[in-house]
């Protein structure tokens, strides 16, 4: 189960498990983002290639609009997956 919460401060909080069953929900939620955004992944326990794909799609869309997507607080397991896939160089990660 994945929880996606938008705050007034322009931060999107992801919590739980971002697997393939959550793709549609996530894409619909991310479609609401139309400016630079920080995605706080402190509560994100797990992400698979489908979740990374949804973030990549959103990153590209925002980039085309001149905006940025920054990922915050990835746990070490998720960071390792990003590193293996070479996405640590594609995403701005803090």
């Amino acid at each position: 189960m994945l929880t996606i919460e938008f705050t007034d401060a322009g931060i999107v909080h992801l919590e739980g498990r971002f697997d393939a069953s959550q793709e549609q929900k996530a894409l619909e939620a991310f479609a609401r983002i139309d400016t630079s955004v920080q995605v706080d992944c402190r509560g994100l326990e797990y992400i698979s290639s489908v979740g990374i794909g949804a973030l990549l799609f959103t990153q590209k869309r925002l980039n085309d609009m001149g905006h940025r997507l920054k990922l915050l607080h990835l746990n070490p397991h998720i960071m390792e997956i990003f590193r293996l896939a070479g996405f640590d160089a594609i995403f701005e990660i803090e």
Binding site: D19, S21, S48, S49, K60, H77, A85, G86, A89
Partner: protein
């Protein structure tokens, strides 16, 4: 000593909840390292999702079998009445490509090969068997 666990999962994405529950239970019971649990979750999800999405005509559940030994875990995913879909050859992913050239396609199988020590594929009588081996 070997411990063998076998479960069937309906071929729908909604089964992923049960898949993860089973893996977490196995991890607790056999005290698997946390990093290995993440790798098992990801690899099984990637392969299971491929089976569900690319073999939609089969009406059979997907069988997950785990053989847990002291120094390694062997995972078999068995898919019945399906076409051949060989995942044993690693997919190429252009890790250094810029954002505009990066695509998520093929990433799942690429990660499976990165995270497991061996990935084997067998196809016989319209049954696919993917075997993953992870040394602990």
């Amino acid at each position: 000593m070997q411990n063998i666990i076998e479960k069937n999962f309906a071929r729908e994405l909604g089964s992923l909840d049960q898949v993860f529950e089973v893996l977490e239970q196995i991890s607790r019971t056999y005290k698997l390292p946390e990093g290995s649990l993440y790798a098992f979750k990801l690899c099984i999800e990637e392969l299971f999702v491929n089976m569900v999405r690319y073999q939609p005509d089969s009406r059979h559940p997907v069988t997950l079998k785990m053989i847990i030994e002291e120094n390694k875990v062997t995972i078999l995913l068995v898919d019945h009445d399906v076409d051949r879909f060989d995942v044993s050859r690693p997919r190429e992913v252009k890790k250094d490509a810029p954002l505009e050239e990066r695509k998520p396609g093929g990433l799942g199988i690429y990660l499976v090969h990165q995270l497991m020590d061996r990935v084997l594929y067998d196809y016989k009588d319209r049954t696919s068997t993917v075997t993953l081996i992870k040394n602990l």
